[in-house]
C-alpha cells in the first residue's frame, strides 16, 4: 500500500497514533496538497460510515480531534503550498446560544473537504455575521445552534442579511441537532443539516459540486 493510501485507511479507522506518524513520514515525501487529498478521502469514508450507522457522534468527534492534530502538523507548510479551496464558509453559533461541539465538528469536516472556514465563535449577533459576509464574501454562511431557541436567532440573522441586500450573495445553511425542514422554512435558509457530514455534503451541493 502506498504511504498516502495508508494514511487514508489509518485515519478512516481512527487510529490516531498511526495516522500522526504516517503524516510525519509523508511530509518528507509528498506535497501538502497530496497529503490533504488523502485526508479528504479519509473524512469522506468516515462520513459515509456515519451516514450508514457504522460510526456515531463519538467517532465524528474523535475524527475531528485527529484532523486538528493533522492540521497542526501541516500548518507550517499549508499556507505556503496550498493552492486553492472549494470556497469560503463563514461559520458561527448564532446569538443567544453558546454551544460549539457541533460547530467544531462541522468545521473540521468542512476544512478537510477543502473549504476555507472563517469561524466567528459562539453567541454571534446577526450584525457580526453581516459584517463577516461583507468582509470575506463567502460562498456559504453556516449558522449553527444546539437549542431550539437558536432557530429564531438564525431567522434574525438571515433577515439582517436581507436588510443589507446580501441575501442573494450567499447560500445559507443552518445546522444543529434540532434543526429540520420546518426550521429551514421558518428561517428562510437554503439548506439544513443535523449532522456535520451531511452539512459538508450539502455545502458542496450549494456551490454546484456534485459528489
Amino acid at each position: 500500500m502506498s504511504l498516502l493510501n495508508e494514511i487514508v485507511s489509518a485515519f478512516a479507522e481512527l487510529d490516531e497514533d498511526r495516522t500522526v506518524n504516517l503524516i510525519k513520514e509523508a511530509l518528507e515525501k509528498h506535497t501538502v496538497n497530496e497529503i490533504f487529498d488523502a485526508c479528504r478521502h479519509a473524512t469522506d469514508i468516515i462520513g459515509e460510515k456515519y451516514e450508514k450507522g457504522e460510526y456515531f457522534l463519538s467517532e465524528l468527534v474523535f475524527a475531528g480531534h485527529i484532523f486538528n492534530r493533522i492540521l497542526e502538523l501541516l500548518l507550517p507548510k499549508l499556507e505556503k503550498e496550498k493552492t486553492s479551496t472549494l470556497g469560503t464558509i463563514v461559520l458561527g453559533t448564532v446569538e443567544g446560544d453558546v454551544h460549539d461541539i457541533g460547530k467544531n465538528i462541522f468545521k473540521a469536516f468542512a476544512e478537510a473537504a477543502n473549504f476555507r472556514v472563517i469561524d466567528l465563535g459562539v453567541d454571534v449577533p446577526p450584525q457580526k455575521f453581516v459584517e463577516a459576509v461583507k468582509e470575506h464574501k463567502p460562498e456559504i454562511l453556516g449558522l449553527s445552534g444546539l437549542l431550539t431557541l437558536a432557530i429564531d436567532a438564525m431567522k434574525r440573522t438571515i433577515e439582517a442579511l436581507k436588510a443589507e441586500g446580501l441575501r442573494d450573495k450567499v447560500k445559507v445553511i443552518i445546522g444543529g441537532g434540532r434543526v429540520d425542514e420546518n426550521a429551514k422554512k421558518y428561517t428562510g435558509a437554503d439548506a439544513w443539516a443535523d449532522s456535520a457530514t451531511k452539512g459538508v455534503k450539502l455545502c458542496k451541493e450549494l456551490i454546484g459540486l456534485k459528489e
Binding site: 463519538s58 432557530i151 420546518n182 421558518y186
Partner: protein, 413 residues
C-alpha cells in the same frame, strides 16, 4: 372551580398519567408541554433576565402559563441549573438541597464558570440560561477522583469552577457560601410557594427528583463532552472505574432520596446519542439499566429523556422490567418506538417544537389528530413536545395542541 373540584381535577390528571405509565388506556391521552423558560417569560410580559433573577416573577410567569396552557403534568418547579456545589455538599443533606440548584443570583455570587445567563453573558431575552460545563477534572487526575469522588469535587473542583471560591478558607470564599445559603433559602421559599399554588390550580403534586447516569455526570460537569469522548478512547479503564465508583457512591442515596417521591425520577440523557454500541453497552447502558431497575424494585418509576436519535438502542429498553416508567423520545419517531415497546414501556413525545414555529393552528390540529390515530390505541402513550417550546412559537399553536387532545385524544367519556 371549588376546592373539591380542583382536588378531583388533580386526581383525574394523576390517574391519567399513571394509567399511561402502567401501559393502560386512560380516559384521555395525557399531555405534557415543555414550555421553555423564555416562552413563559414572554407570555407573562417579562424578559428572561427578569425571570431568572427575580424568583417571584419566575413563579408568577410559571403560574400564568400553567393557567393559560393547562396540561396534565405540572410545570417542573425548578428555574435554575444543576449545581456543582450540591454535589460537593452531598454528605450534608440538611443543607445540600439549598445548594443543589444554581440560580441567576447564585451565578452572580459564585461567579461559576460553567453556566451562562440572560442579561449577563448572553442577551436579556435569550431563551434560557445555558449550561456549558468545563474541564474541572483534568485527564491525569482520574486516580485522585476515583479515591474519593465527592471529596475531590469539594476540595479540587469547587475552587476551580467558581471564581468566588478560588481560595478556600478566605474571607471571600466564606462570605460567598453564606450568601449562597441566604439566596438558596429565598429560592426554596419561592419554589415551595409555587408548588402549593400549582396544587391549588388542580395540578397533581409530583414530588420528583432528577438524577443522571455517571458518564453524563462526568461529561457535563467535570470533563466536557468532547473531553469524556476522548477519555473513552485514551483511558477507558479509568473512565470505567470512575463510573463504577460514582454508581457505588450514589445508588444508596438515590434510593433514600427518591423513596418519598410521588412522581417520576427524571433522568435526562446526553451522551446516549453520541455513543457507538461499543461505548454505549460498556460505559452507559449498564448504569442506566441499574438505576432504573433498582428504583423500580423500590416502587419508584423513572421518566427518561432519550435525547437526540436513540434508534440504535431502542430495543435495549426491552431489557428493563415491564412497566418500569416513561420513555420520552426526541428525534426517534414515537410511532416506531410505540411499535417496538408496545406492552412494555410507556412512550412519550411526538411533537417537534419546530412544527409549532411554522404551522397554522389548523395544521397543528391535523398533525396531532393523525399522530394520535396511530399511537393512542392500546394506551401507554403520553403526548408531549420532544424538546422545549421556544418563546417565538405562536401561543395559538400551543393552544391548538391542547384543543386537539380534547378532540381526538379521548378514549372514553
Amino acid at each position: 372551580m371549588s376546592k373539591i373540584d380542583l382536588e378531583k381535577l388533580a386526581e383525574q390528571r394523576w390517574r391519567r398519567i399513571e394509567a399511561a405509565a402502567n401501559l393502560k388506556e386512560p380516559d384521555k391521552v395525557p399531555l405534557e408541554l415543555n414550555l421553555d423558560f423564555g416562552f413563559r417569560a414572554k407570555w407573562y410580559g417579562i424578559t428572561t433576565y427578569d425571570f431568572f433573577f427575580d424568583y417571584e416573577k419566575a413563579k408568577n410567569a410559571i403560574i400564568a402559563t400553567a393557567v393559560d396552557f393547562p396540561t396534565d403534568f405540572p410545570p417542573l418547579p425548578m428555574f435554575g441549573s444543576g449545581s456543582l456545589l450540591g454535589f460537593a455538599l452531598r454528605d450534608h443533606p440538611d443543607i445540600s438541597q439549598i445548594a443543589g440548584v444554581l440560580t441567576g443570583p447564585m451565578h452572580d455570587i459564585l461567579r461559576d464558570k460553567y453556566t451562562r445567563w440572560p442579561g449577563r453573558e448572553i442577551s436579556p431575552n435569550a431563551g434560557s440560561f445555558q449550561f456549558l460545563g468545563g474541564e474541572f477534572l483534568k485527564a491525569e487526575e482520574y486516580d485522585d477522583f476515583i479515591k474519593d469522588p465527592f471529596g475531590f469535587i469539594a476540595e479540587v473542583v469547587t475552587p476551580r469552577a467558581h471564581q468566588s471560591l478560588e481560595k478556600p478558607g478566605s474571607a471571600e470564599a466564606m462570605a460567598t457560601l453564606i450568601r449562597v445559603a441566604v439566596e438558596g433559602l429565598k429560592y426554596i421559599k419561592a419554589v415551595d410557594s409555587l408548588v402549593n399554588e400549582l396544587i391549588k390550580l388542580g395540578y397533581p403534586s409530583l414530588l420528583a427528583s432528577i438524577t443522571s447516569v455517571p458518564l453524563d455526570f462526568l461529561g457535563d460537569f467535570l470533563r466536557t463532552i468532547p473531553g469524556i469522548l476522548l477519555d473513552l478512547r485514551k483511558k477507558p479503564d479509568k473512565v470505567k472505574e470512575a463510573c463504577d465508583v460514582l454508581m457505588k457512591e450514589t445508588m444508596p442515596r438515590r434510593i433514600i432520596l427518591t423513596s418519598k417521591s410521588t412522581g417520576f425520577v427524571l433522568i435526562p440523557l446526553h451522551l446516549n446519542e453520541y455513543l457507538s454500541p461499543k461505548f454505549y453497552y460498556e460505559f452507559y447502558w449498564p448504569h442506566l439499566k441499574r438505576i432504573i431497575t433498582d428504583l423500580y424494585n423500590q416502587g419508584v418509576k423513572c421518566q427518561v429523556a432519550f435525547e437526540g436519535r436513540h434508534d440504535a438502542y431502542l430495543e435495549s429498553i426491552l431489557e428493563l422490567p415491564k412497566g418500569w416508567g416513561i420513555a420520552l423520545f426526541e428525534k426517534t419517531d414515537v410511532r416506531k418506538a410505540k411499535k417496538v415497546l408496545e406492552g412494555h414501556t410507556c412512550v412519550m413525545g411526538g411533537i417537534p417544537p419546530t412544527l409549532l414555529l411554522n404551522a397554522t393552528p389548523k395544521e397543528v390540529e391535523d398533525y396531532v389528530r393523525k399522530l394520535l390515530e396511530e399511537v393512542m390505541p392500546g394506551g401507554g402513550f403520553i403526548l408531549s413536545t420532544s424538546t422545549a417550546i421556544p418563546a417565538e412559537v405562536p401561543p395559538e399553536n400551543v393552544k391548538s395542541v391542547i384543543n386537539a387532545v380534547e378532540k381526538y385524544g379521548v378514549y372514553r367519556r
